[in-house]
C-alpha cells in the first residue's frame, strides 16, 4: 500500500497523528501537495461521506475525520498556493433572532468544514443587523440561517429584506434550514435553497457555489 493509500485510510479511521505523519511522509516523497490533497485527504473524506450516508459512521466519527483532515491540510496549505490552497469558500451561519436552538446549525457547520469550507458561526438569537454586518465583513459565498421555532422562522424574511435594503442581497447565496422550515417556505421568503439535514446542506452549498 502506497503512502497516499495509507494516508487515506488513516483519515478514514480519524487518526489525527497518523494523518499528520503520512501527509509529511508523502511530502517527503516529493508527491505534489495537490495530489496529496486530492488522492489522500479528499479521497478519504469522500469515503467518510459515503459511510455517513450509509449509516456506518455517526456524527462523532465524521467530526473526528474532519479534524484529522484539517491536521493534514495545515501541512499542505503553505504549499497549495493558488486556487487549490484556498478553502472551498466561506459560509456564514447563524440561528435567527428569538431562537436559541444551536445544535442543528453547529452540525451543519461541522459537515461543511469537513467538506472544506471555511465556516463562520455567528451564534444564536442573531438579529438582522448582525447578519447584514457579517455578510459585509466576511463576504461569504453562502449565508445560512437556522430556525427551529415556528415563531422565529419568519424572521428569515426580515433578514433577507434587510440584505435587500442594503443592496447586498445579490452578493450572497442564502440557504435556510431547521425543523419547521421546508422547501416551500424557503421559496416564499426568497432564499436560494433549503436542505433538510446537514449532509444535504453540504450538497446544496456545493451546488450553489458551483453555479
Amino acid at each position: 500500500m502506497g503512502t497516499l493509500e495509507k494516508l487515506r485510510d488513516a483519515l478514514i479511521e480519524g487518526k489525527v497523528e497518523e494523518v499528520k505523519h503520512y501527509t509529511q511522509q508523502a511530502l517527503d516523497e516529493n508527491t505534489p501537495a495537490k495530489t496529496i490533497l486530492d488522492q489522500g485527504l479528499i479521497a478519504g473524506m469522500d469515503v467518510v461521506g459515503v459511510r455517513f450516508k450509509e449509516g456506518e459512521y455517526f456524527l462523532p466519527e465524521v467530526l473526528l475525520c474532519a479534524k484529522a483532515m484539517h491536521a493534514g491540510l495545515d501541512l499542505l496549505k503553505p504549499l497549495l498556493v493558488g486556487e487549490s490552497g484556498q478553502s472551498a469558500g466561506t459560509v456564514v451561519l447563524g440561528t435567527v433572532k428569538g431562537d436559541l436552538h444551536d445544535i442543528g446549525k453547529r452540525i451543519v457547520k461541522a459537515m461543511l468544514e469537513g467538506a472544506g469550507y471555511e465556516v463562520i458561526d455567528i451564534g444564536v438569537d442573531v438579529d438582522a443587523e448582525k447578519f447584514v454586518e457579517s455578510v459585509r465583513k466576511h463576504k461569504p459565498l453562502v449565508l445560512g440561517m437556522s430556525a427551529l421555532l415556528t415563531t422565529t422562522m419568519r424572521y428569515m424574511k426580515t433578514v433577507i429584506d434587510a440584505l435587500q435594503n442594503e443592496g447586498i442581497r445579490d452578493k450572497v447565496k442564502i440557504i435556510v434550514g431547521g425543523a419547521p422550515v421546508n422547501e416551500e417556505f424557503a421559496k416564499s421568503v426568497g432564499a436560494d435553497g433549503y436542505a433538510p439535514n446537514a449532509s444535504e446542506a453540504v450538497d446544496l452549498v456545493k451546488r450553489l457555489t458551483a453555479a
Binding site: P60, I103, R106, T151, R154
Partner: protein, 455 residues
Amino acid sequence: MEEMLYSSAHEMIFGFAKKPVTVANGLTFGKGKVVPEVNFTLPPMDLAHENVPEIRERFKDIAHRIMERCVELQQEEVVIEFEHLFDMTERPDFGAQLTKDLKEVIEKYRQSHGTKAALRVTVADIRDRTRPPRMRSGKEIETMLRSFELCADAGADILSIESTGGKEISDNALMIGDVEGLLFALGVLGPRDMDFLWREIVSIARRYDVVPGGDTACGFANTAMQLAHQGLLPKVLAAVVRLMSAPRSLAAVEVGAVGPLKDCGYENPVIKAITGVPISMEGKTSACAHSSPLGNIAAAVCDLWSNESVQDVKLLSGNTPEVFTEMLIYDCRLMNTAIEEGRAEILRDLMVDSDRFLDPQALILDPKVMYEAARVIVNAGEDKFKQAVAVSRYAHGVVKEAEATNKIRLRGVEAKWLEKIGKILEHLPEEEEEFYASVKARYEGHFIPEEYGLN
C-alpha cells in the same frame, strides 16, 4: 433519598401514583385515572408586540376548541399545557396575560359543563441565551422567576420548566459523542442548577398555592434521541443518556416538586419509582412533535398522557389541537377502561412488549428497567455524580445483556459504540472531585463554575 416508594416494578402502573397530586379545582392525578394533557403551539407567525392581540385571540380560540372537543367526547378531565416561547418568558406580562386568557376559557367550561381542567404553565429557560450562560446571577434568572410569579398569579395550576443547566457542555458532548462531557453536564452541573432553580420555583409555588410540577432532561436526552433519529448518534448512546439524566431530573422532586412531571421527561418512571409522584408522558400521539421509538412503552406507567406539542394548523376535520385532543382522549379511555376492569397490568405489559426489543431506547423504558435503575440510584447514595455513573453503567449493562442474549439486534456500528461506552464508563474516577479535576481543563471557558456553586 434513602428508600423507594415502590417495592417492585410490577406495582408500577399507569393511572396510579403513590403520591397523587390535586390542583385547586379538585382534579387529581395518579389516583386511578390517566388524564390527557394537550399541548399546542403557534403556527408560523412572529411574536412582535403588534401581534399580541392576534396571539391572545388565537390562544383563547385554541383553548376553546380543546375544551369543546372534550365536552363532545364526554371527557371530564383534561390538562392544557401552555409552554412559553422565549418572548413569553422574556416579557413576563405577555406570558401572564396568555395564562389568564387560557384560564378564563377553562373556567368558563367548568361553569357551563363541569369540565375539570388544569393549566400547566411551562416557563422557558432563557438563561441559555448567552454562552457561557449565567445561571444564578444576571437578569435572565430574575426575569424567569418573575415570569413564574406572574403566571402563578394569573391562574397557572401547575408550574414547570425544561431547564438547561449543563447544556453548554452537553451540546458539544453530544455532537462528538463525549461520554465524560455528558456526565459532567448531567452528573455535576445539571443537578446543581436543578437544586438551585427548583428551590426558587417551589417557594413561588407555595406562595401562590399552586403545584410545583417538575422538570425534564429534554435538552439533553431528547436532543440525543433526535440526533439518533437523524442517524447522527448511535441509539445505544441515546439510551444511556436517558438514564444518565434521571438523577438530574430527580433533583427537582428532592427539593419540593411534587409532579405531575413534564411529558417529555422519558426518565420520569425512574423518579416515580423512587418518589411516588405522578408523571406525564408522551409517546405515539406526540409523533406530531418528534418521531420516537417509544410510542407505546412510554405509556406504561403514566398518569397523564400528552402529545408534546402541535402547531395550530387546519386539517380536514378541524385544527390540530382538537384533533390531537381526540386521539389522546381515546388513548386514555382505553387505559382507564383497563383500570376499571382490572386489566391494567395486561395492557401495560402489552404496551411494553410491543416496543421493548425494537430499539435500545425502548428497552431502557421498560418499567422493570426503570425500576431497577431507580434502585441503582438509591443505592448510590446522595451523591449525584455517583448516581449518574452508577445508573449509566446499569443502562449500558441492560443493553449489553439484551444484545448478548439476542433479545435485541444491534447494527455493527451500534455494537462498537456500546463497547466503547462501556469502556469509558468502566474507567471513570469514582469520586466527583476527582472527576471534576480530570475534566475541568477540557471544559474550561465553556461554563462558569461560580454559576453552579463550583470553583
